[in-house]
Symmetry: C2
Subunit: 199 residues, 2 copies
């Protein structure tokens, strides 16, 4: 049996450039019959290894200032809603545990997109179990049960392990893609990563 | 008289992503009847202000490793020659003084492209007055005279002043573009910067 072409999308729900990808990847991948695996990891842990206690967009003020101009322009270009978050980077460990624990569920992409939109287009605090429950319920799922499972030791360990895997594979930022074993970094490389699988 | 549309291309001859732009900008700008101003500046001075004593591609080994994979792929995509330099980042203050002192000369783009190609496709040491003289001579210019002028106090000050201007304008990396007063960072934004002028 032929294995279906697959792209791994490594992201943090607090990463603004991951948001651009989250809003684009499913449609672009579907055009080429490529499946998407959503791989959340804790980007802050990667930054800590570099000796950074926050995002480079906070630590380098010139880069940070530019980032918000760039985000506004990129969202306009891709026709994606945008509102600069009043808190950045926003912690998102609770919804990311849900995403990690439900990687193989068909609804995980839609769930992550809703979290990204809440963070980057509605300026909402997404690191709240109540908010996560409400979101899953509105998608027709059982929010309480899913959130309870995501707070189990096993589910917590899944996100930690995935973050360690990200480090081991040389991930240094988000979004990062793996396609045919090749690593691509940045929303600007999404098309290249998909083309790698389309050859 | 209508002012011709112009894009400012801020670069360092030691910057690999500036190389990608240098090989693309003239043709893309010409399609839209946009003129290009080549603005060299010392990127290392910007990095020093962030407390970095080298390029982030050296200081962050994961990012550095990825950068060379990315460069190989980007050069293949754009059909640009590529050979990973044995020295990086390569100092280029001598040829950059020549570029700064001759900003308004019609040959400055071709001169910079030859320096970039020597650095990133031929692995040559470009921070040499002999090499610069030879290159200008091969372009039909008077290499010796131009290099002598570029070593004057005035020409040295021009590159320093331009670097200070880069800092004052919020430049934090290279390449950076200014189009209609808007700043764009990175070779990946070249098309967006040109589109800004084409509106």
């Amino acid at each position: 049996m032929m294995k279906r072409k697959n792209i791994e999308f490594w992201f943090d729900l607090g990463s603004n450039y991951s948001y651009l990808t989250a809003m684009r990847i499913d449609a672009l991948a579907a055009e080429k019959s490529i499946s998407v695996t959503w791989k959340p990891f804790l980007l802050g842990q990667i930054f800590k290894r570099f000796g950074w206690d926050s995002s480079p967009f906070v630590l380098q003020k010139e880069k940070g200032k530019y980032t918000w101009v760039d985000m506004k322009r990129q969202c306009a270009k891709y026709d994606i809603p945008w509102k600069q978050p009043s808190a950045f980077p926003r912690a998102a460990v609770y919804p990311m545990r849900v995403a990690a624990a439900n990687e193989s569920e068909s609804w995980v992409g839609e769930f992550c997109r809703r979290m990204f939109v809440a963070n980057f287009a509605e300026d909402q605090d997404i690191n709240s179990n109540d908010f996560v429950i409400k979101t899953i319920n509105s998608m027709g799922g059982d929010g309480r049960t899913i959130v309870d499972l995501a707070q189990s030791d096993e589910a917590k360990a899944k996100l930690r392990t995935q973050t360690e895997e990200a480090i081991a594979r040389g991930i240094f930022g988000a979004p990062t893609f793996f396609a045919s074993g090749e690593m691509f970094w940045g929303n600007d490389r999404l098309e290249d990563a998909l083309a790698e699988l389309d050859g």
